[in-house]
Amino acid sequence: MPTLRQQVHRLRGAEVLDLVADVLVIGGGPAASWAALTATEAGARVVVVDKGYLGTSGATAPSNTGTWFVPPGAEREAAIARRQLLNGGLAVPRWIDRTLDMAWQRLHTLADWGYKFPNDDSGKPYLNNLRGPDYMAFMRRRVLRAGVAILDHHPALELLTDSGVIAGAAGIDRQRNRPWRVRAGAVVLATGGCAFGERMLGATGLTGDGYLMAVEAGATLSGMEFSAQYACAPRQSSLNKGMPFSWASFFREDGTRLDTANKDRHVVVARALLEGPVWAQYDKGIPELRLWLRQGQPNCFLPYDRTGVDPFTQRFPVTLRCEGTVRGVGGIKLTGDDCSTGIPALYAAGDAASRERMTGAITGGGGPNSSWAIASGVWAGRAAAKFAAREARRIRDRRVTGIGRAGLRPALSARPDASAGDILETVREEFLPLGRNFFRGGATLRQSLDRLDRTWAELRDHLPGEGLAAVKSREAAALTATSRWAYASALARAESRGMQRRLDLPATDPEFVCSFEVSGLDRIDVTRSEIPGAVAQ
């Protein structure tokens, strides 16, 4: 039998790229890479499709990210206990432990494979950090070497089903304007979180596509109210990287200093930004830090070096960038330890999956999410391969149907004047402002939901999704749907907890040590569920 890569080559002149695989992975970041590698190890024939390029796609590739790398035993127990004090009581120690355990194993594997970790002063490889561009270039080589067929610039537009079982996906090759279809025994969604159209490196293309595809298939999301994570960035820049700001002072326009001592600097800066411009300067820290920061976080200095600012001696204007569910929490609810979603043959990994059980109500940004991408990718890839093995002989003979609707197949007449670009602006206006999302309130949430519900009804009925235009139309649909799921969940959680900051309900209410699950497209249903294994504080 020809390999999948040979099949892709043979079909290069065909009108439609039509493939049959055991496992289809959708996405191009670390979770997708680990899922593809693990499914291959388990004997599956794997195709990866990504909207961009596996190696540069997603939030990890342009970043320098910590890993959550804690040895088993007392040190790990202590790390879990520390985290439990912060996470709002919604995380489950067993899930933190198994995430840490798998990341511990696979980061060692990465070192064995030859990824170039730096050595610390004791001469031991420092596995607590991954440099994004290098890590993802390395993962691409590994995935290719494993025999996986990678289809870059092949956005998935919809899932395929056969009598309620997920049977693949279809989309378009956006560089050749050619439709593709992959029938597969199981599908892993590793499409990342949603940054709601924010201009931010690695995240502007994260538009919630996987959430939309999963909910269309009948899946549920959870933790979507925890979508109000923001990061400091030099104003107008794409650099939402917080590390250098740990040594920054912040100032109002009149030069007075903001008091961030023992406070969440994001909240202090957000309040000040609502009143006027905020400036920062990296004026704290020991002298050696300047060199380490420049060498260790070089992308953070591009905005300064390219505009002639010395951030250690000069003040520069800052903003807060919305990181949505990328460094937030919400995503596809997992129904089992194997990253299953409750929909047969559909698995979720990385930021596409809800990280609520690992990180609770606070950000998993940096280390935890990076370790989660590894662990959940491994679990999902393994389970998808196992599921597909049972289906293997039947995949080719299946009668599959595309289940994508909004942004692909308008319910009523397509209107050429309906614009995906206008919809994106609407989502930005409702979801990015500090006064709407960072600080929330019942009245503003309802007002935003009204507008977003109307936008949804319009696009569902009239937004055309033909040919290449379908890519932006589907993104517009996913962004609109995701902002509605997030705000509907934020209304249901009638309290403040972690990153959900309700100005009208500032207290944390012990009644709300629970999850909110959200589903549905035209009518959104939010249901409360208890968290088995959660340890309330």
Partner: protein
Amino acid sequence: MIEIVSADRCIACDICVKVCPANVFDPVRQKPPVIARQSDCQTCYLCEIYCPTDALYVAPCAEGPTGITEAEVEAAGLFGSYARALGWRRGKPGGSDKDPTFRIRVAPR
């Protein structure tokens, strides 16, 4: 955003067309690629480091083009500056083993 494809430096290898996660470039036969969808650029700077000849320049403003010229970028020595800071050479990875971030993580705050 991506602002400059230097015709002097570019060897028309089209690697940027392939690696840009936002599909910003269009290839042109035997010529430098064109910036076809500039507003889709997410200012991630990765095209710069994958470019084997340091022919690309991404301005740090993510909101819109600044209009900076190739001569200005050249004069300021900014072509390839991010790749050099990382230790990437000719579009290939390098330097992750020299990352001092482990020192930053334990530095006093």
